[in-house]
């Protein structure tokens, strides 16, 4: 089942319910997936008539796909589903999960030495041998004003794949 994010949980619950009833989205939402955003689309293109369409951004971890669906909240149907190469920004849940994974890493615990992690987390794109089609986060570890470490977290495999120093990040 998908995890949800952002405000108005009742509205989002309804969007998820409608999406689950669509055959194109059912398998995505039944597997490991994350709803990244829902956006109301108040006006249709080319005319001034209001429409009640909502864009839903989903990350399908089983297929490593970004999926976007258009849900008509009047007819309670999914009117379009497409995948895109682009990765949308992390949801709050993904951010929290990445920080939890990083915080559990032995190297991170060692550099923290009991200090607060004070994390900041962004969507990350890997280099080298890391599978390019996975979804990643970079967790900035900030135990002091100037000390920095960076945990690269593979959200697809739910593992920390690298710990990077500030000098290495900056190429110094």
């Amino acid at each position: 089942m998908p995890k949800d994010t952002q405000a108005n949980p009742q509205f989002r619950k309804e969007i998820v319910r409608i999406s689950q009833s669509d055959s194109r989205l059912a398998s995505t939402l039944e597997g490991r997936s994350q709803i990244l955003f829902t956006v109301e689309k108040p006006l249709d293109r080319g005319n001034r008539e209001p429409v009640n369409h909502t864009l839903v951004g989903i990350y399908d971890y089983d297929r490593n796909d970004s999926v976007v669906a258009v849900v008509d909240t009047d007819s309670k149907t999914v009117v379009d589903v497409q995948t895109t190469q682009a990765q949308f920004q992390l949801s709050d849940e993904e951010r929290a999960e990445a920080e939890q994974i990083a915080g559990a890493d032995n190297v991170v615990q060692s550099v923290l030495a009991g200090r607060e992690m004070n994390p900041l987390t962004r969507l990350y794109f890997p280099t080298g041998s890391h599978p390019a089609n996975h979804r990643y986060a970079i967790v900035f570890i900030r135990p002091s004003k100037s000390e920095r470490w960076y945990a690269i977290v593979d959200l697809t495999t739910r593992s920390t794949v690298d710990i990077v120093s500030r000098r290495r990040l900056a190429g110094e």
Binding site: L43, G46, L55, Y124, F125, V164, R166, A170, G171
Partner: protein, 441 residues
């Protein structure tokens, strides 16, 4: 969704989860300019190390934003400070009353390293709809100043990067309305023109790829399919590439509109009095255009559902909307000011009331018509008058027993034709006519 109506603009905007303040539909002088605009994310790329890029979201630690009044326009300002001062961005959407507008991101940085070894790629996406979604064409400016069509989806750079020239324009050739675009000096800018498609539009919600925006395999290049960018629905991606060497840095494109309806003159312009609202055939029903100095429109008009400014803090005992204090006998709307002598006019009479030109013209003299046969008065005075107010005509009749009436304002006996005319002006102005004085005595 907040809406600002000010300085000849109507701007809809919203705050999003990861791409900050986004514009929705924007009109200038009642004519569409933008369907949407956004800065989806910031792509940060480090050089020298073996670390991949990441994206900064444009997020704030609070929901605050500011509508800032400036000379000849206004700004919508937001501070994206979720990551703290080392990674802060400020965002300004600026609109001028002459149709210029633009977006600027201020990069505070530099964050992780201070030797200038990382680069910010900032994509600005403009879903431009010049006087409507379709029929737009992209052109570029030759060194001679001539505008030439760009035929297919493509990318281009400024002709002279350090010059303040408008190098592109999106034009609706059927209406001759256009938006010129220029790059900010120092942005190392690319301008991509694509035909709109829905999948591409979804990238505006923060869709990023490993490669920096503007490079192969990234936005917007992955949506380029070689389609024509003439007479169609266009999207402009402006990519600023900013080295961390320069700090604090600002980037972002600037637009100027041409061919749109002429705005009302500013009050500072001595050639024009306060009133003129030039007629434009493109929008004959143009509403009253607010001007910042106009006391009738002292504040930007916001959508009632979502006030931009917080509610004023009132004393607990103070009513939120105090009733206007009127004298018990004081009418809300002014009573008609009667013509000085109120005598029944026997010849054409012109006067002015509430700024409107009023004409009263006797039309049917006794013996010329049959108005008297159905209860209207007879005698030596005219049996019918035409009352003209700003070109609108109504007929007025004298009544048996004195006074006048008109079928346009039924059930009311007026003391004089002048009072009837003035009440008709009140009716046009305020939509009411049942004042005390007009009731039969």
């Amino acid at each position: 969704m907040p809406i600002i109506e000010q300085d000849n603009w109507r701007v809809s905007f919203e705050r999003s989860a990861s791409s900050g303040i986004r514009l929705r539909e924007c009109d200038y002088m009642g004519v569409r300019v933008l369907h949407a605009a956004a800065v989806p994310f910031v792509h940060v790329q480090y050089q020298g190390g073996d670390i991949g890029p990441f994206t900064d979201e444009l997020r704030s630690s609070s929901d605050d934003f500011e509508i800032r009044q400036i000379m000849f326009g206004f700004d919508i300002c937001a501070r994206y400070d979720l990551y703290g001062p080392d990674y802060q961005y400020d965002h300004i959407w600026r609109f001028h009353d002459d149709g210029q507008f633009g977006s600027a991101i201020i990069i505070y940085g530099p964050g992780e390293e201070i030797l200038g070894r990382h680069t910010y790629y900032i994509p600005f996406r403009f879903d431009i709809d010049i006087s409507g979604a379709s029929g737009d064409s992209i052109q570029t400016r030759r060194p001679t100043g001539e505008w030439v069509d760009i035929e297919q989806e493509s990318v281009s750079r400024p002709l002279v990067p350090w010059a303040a020239d408008y190098d592109w324009r999106v034009i609706d050739k059927s209406t001759e309305k256009s938006a010129r675009l220029r790059a900010r000096t120092g942005d190392n800018a690319q301008v991509w023109t694509l035909r709109y498609n829905e999948l591409e539009s979804w990238s505006s919600w923060g869709g990023a790829l490993r490669s920096p925006p503007g490079t192969p395999g990234s936005v917007p290049e992955i949506y380029q399919t070689g389609q024509s960018v003439q007479n169609t629905d266009l999207v402009i991606w402006y990519i600023a590439e900013i080295s961390s060497v320069d700090r604090v840095t600002v980037c972002g494109p600037w637009f100027a509109l041409d061919g749109y309806p002429t705005p009302p003159p500013r009050r500072e312009d001595p050639k024009h009095p306060d009133h003129p609202h030039p007629h434009d055939p493109d929008h004959p029903d143009e509403p009253d255009h607010p001007h910042p100095d106009d006391p009738k429109h002292p504040e930007p008009k916001l959508h009632p559902d979502e006030p931009v400014h917080p509610e004023p803090k009132l004393h607990p005992d103070e009513p939120v909307h105090p009733e206007p204090k009127l004298h018990p006998d004081e009418p809300v709307h002014p009573e008609p000011k009667l013509h000085p002598d109120d005598q029944t006019p026997l010849t054409k009479l012109s006067m002015e009331y509430l700024g409107r030109k009023v004409e009263i013209e006797p039309m049917v003299m006794p013996g010329e018509g049959k108005a008297g046969e159905h209860g209207h008065m007879a005698g030596n005075e005219p049996l019918m008058y035409v009352v003209r107010v700003d070109g609108k005509e109504i007929l007025a009749h004298p009544m048996g027993g004195g006074g006048f009436h008109t079928h346009e304002l039924p059930f009311v006996r007026f003391k004089s034709v002048q009072a009837l005319a003035e009440t008709y002006v009140n009716y046009l102005e305020y939509g009411i006519y049942h004042g005390r004085k007009e009731k039969p005595e």
